[in-house]
Amino acid sequence: MNVDRLKSSSVFYCIAIPVIAIIYYWIAQMSFMFAWRHTNVNADCPSSAVGFIIIYIFGQRFWPGIWLGVFLVNAGYYFSNPSFNLFQVILFSIPIATGNTLEAVVSSYLLKKLIGNRNPLHKAQDILRFALMLMVGCAIGASMGAITVCLSNLSYWNSFVFIWFIWWFGNFSWIFTLTPFFWAIGQRPFSKVDLKRILEFVISLSVLGVSNEMVFNDRFIISQMHIPITYFPLALTVWLTYRFGYWGAITSILLTLNQAFQGTSKGAGPFFSSGDISTSLLLLDTFIATVCGTCLLLAAALYEHRQAQKKIFLSEQRFRALVENNSDIILLVNSLGVITYCSPSVTRIMGYRQEEQVGHNILEFIHSEYEESIKIEFSHILSHPAEVIKTLVRIRHKNGSWRWVEGSGQNLLRDTSIGAIVVNYRDITEKKQVQERFERVFESSPLAKIIVNKQGKIQLVNQTAEVLLGYPREEMLKMSIDDFVPERVRKPHPAHREGFHKSPKVRPMGSVANLSVLTKDKREIPVEIALTPIENEDGLLVLATIMDITERKAAEEVLRNELKQATRLADVGTLAAIVAHELRTPLGVIQMAAHNLKNKNKDLAKDKHLENIQKKVWEGNHIIDNLLSYSNIKMPIYESCPILNLLDECISNVSNQFQRLDIAVDKFYKVPQGFVLEIDSNQIREVIVNVLNNAYQSMDIKGGRIEVLVQRNNDEFLQISFKDSGVGIGTENLDKIFRPFFTTKAKGTGLGLTICNEIINLHHGRFDIQSLKAQGTTVSISLPIQSKIFKQQ
């Protein structure tokens, strides 16, 4: 069971009431037993203090205990007087009990109303309030008591004022003197066990005790020497209060009170006035109450002062910790730029000790590049008090490196508490490095990047974006992202943007098809766009990464065409194969028929015709062969091929066949020996052999020559030309040579050049023929140096 529940339980209450009554009664009886038995008014003064304490500390609900106690004490007192009967005893005791109870209840109620639950010893004003409230409360008790006393004929009405005053002041001074002791209980007299202080306390108290004995009990020799030492205990009490706070005050007062009362009631001391003990005690009460009030006020003031000091100390410590552990460095600089204070964080951040900075001019640490601008800013600070100037400079670290710092300065020279220019700065080198790295990556990205704010306004663009969209950077920074959306889809774009802002998440490339951007020259470029939300202090920004897919689209187009061509070739091939096969069977039969006829023919004149049939069948077969090989042209299978080696191989093969013609081949190779092309070497070999064959066949006389020239046409093409000294081709035939089945030769299908042209076309090259009748022919084959197919890959 905890204390609060115990206090509020009714069983405890029922026990507490009589216990309080007994305690009250017992203390009052003790008071009677003391020396001041002579007086009737002061009798229950100490116990009235107990009443106040109980009500104040435990609560007003215990008033019946007090009431009962007072009633018993007074009833006993009246009862001991034989002039009162029982009825009178009860009659007179009731108002006194009520008055004393009201006194405690009213003053504790008023005090609590004023100061709440705080300890009244902690504030000088509270001590004063306590005294005032007591005066009010005690007036009730004194009034009722004095009236009762006068009514009961214990005293005369003409002494009412005197009785009232004694009653009032007695109760007041006792409560005022004793109560602080109970408030002090629970508060430790010493913050820690300190032998020296305890010793000091004991010695001081002892000195006080001795001096009290001298003053109030006329003890020791010195009191008989008539030296006025009456106020000596006062000084000691004040000293004890000063040294030990309210504990010092309370203990010394209680000690003095005890000794003074004993002495005075025995007729000793300065307050003893001959004859009337009541007057003597009243004088003493006045003295004690005054001392007590003074000391309590002093103690409270000291307490307040110490609390305030402690608070200042703590806040200073907190402030110091803040300054020392701050990642900012704080400097105080005088009007000449000399550092007068430097926060300790400088050691951690810049490597300097504090004393290495203090006394130096700030310019000593700043990079010379910024010296001029700092001087200008410094003079601005000097001429504009209280204005905060921000700046970005490089400062030398103790280790010699230059650190980027971001700083601010404020002129507080006129502020008396500071009297300096306050400079704050922080190391932002790493932040700046990160930022620079980001900027480099951003700027040099091969993809166009644009950062846009919530309103669609462009915040940052990179160079690729400038190139892609055709606007200079400054112009773009004034534009909205909507300006780059093609007009036909511009209208809903702001809504799309807002939708993205509502639920920002990364949108990867290619998640939306068929996007395009509008450039300055009103072109639409097909693009893919990735969106990335970026959170920063200005709110949500969006990074749009734009990839130009024009080339990819073109490449796709090329591939589509290739595919188409391949399909066409395959179709032609299939058709040709079917036609060839189907034609071969009847041709075979015709051949056999002719053969049979010839065997049976006896007429030699008819033989010639049969031979013609056989010859034409053979030619027809040859045509079919060529057709099949044309239809057999496949898509090139690219591989790296040293083109000059291939050329040499072909030349030697073909020239062997035409050895008898004695033709010179002159080679002019203007590319390095190992020059490599990406080609289908089998197909190109076929082309070269075909061209060479044609060249050889065009020589109608011995001793002709063929020039083979290999050179780079430009960066894109390698040109291989074959120039012969043959018969040439007439202009009338030149434009027909690539047509299938065109030929001028006796033997030939007319498909050779068609096939060659087709192969070179498939290689994305060019096949040209220049020729003049009787002046020879030049065939040029241009092949791409870098295969288009490879480029795409």
């Binding site: 069977t585 075979g588 028929a593």
Partner: protein, 149 residues
Amino acid sequence: MLSVQQTQSGYQMQSKESKMQDLPKIMIVDDDVELLEELKEVLSFNNYEVEAMFNSALVFEVACEKKPDLIILDLKMKNKSGFQLADELYNSFKTKNIPLIAITGFFTEKEHVLMMKMCGIKNIILKPFEPESLLAKIASVLEEAKRNA
């Protein structure tokens, strides 16, 4: 001279010279009547007994009956393809040892390998062929068959 006889088993063409018993007997199979006619003429002229078959579906039966020394067949025919026929002949013990020459207009490497593996076709003549080259092929195949037998 050639005469085309309507028999129960279809058209059969015979020549007068084929009655000579000691001549090598060659069966030719093709659905092209003109080719059949001309080829038969070529072979007969060169002293072979020729059994010309127009309907490939009947070849197997006739071959079992007549036991030719050599069969020349077209690979592409209407009723039963040359491959099927060759397969049939190769897998019957009666006709297993008869050598085959296939005539084809167009074939691929793949087809060739298939023929070799499945049908026992070891000899190919490409259309169109010179009569002389066919005769030379026939002579060599028969020579080899005689050696093996």
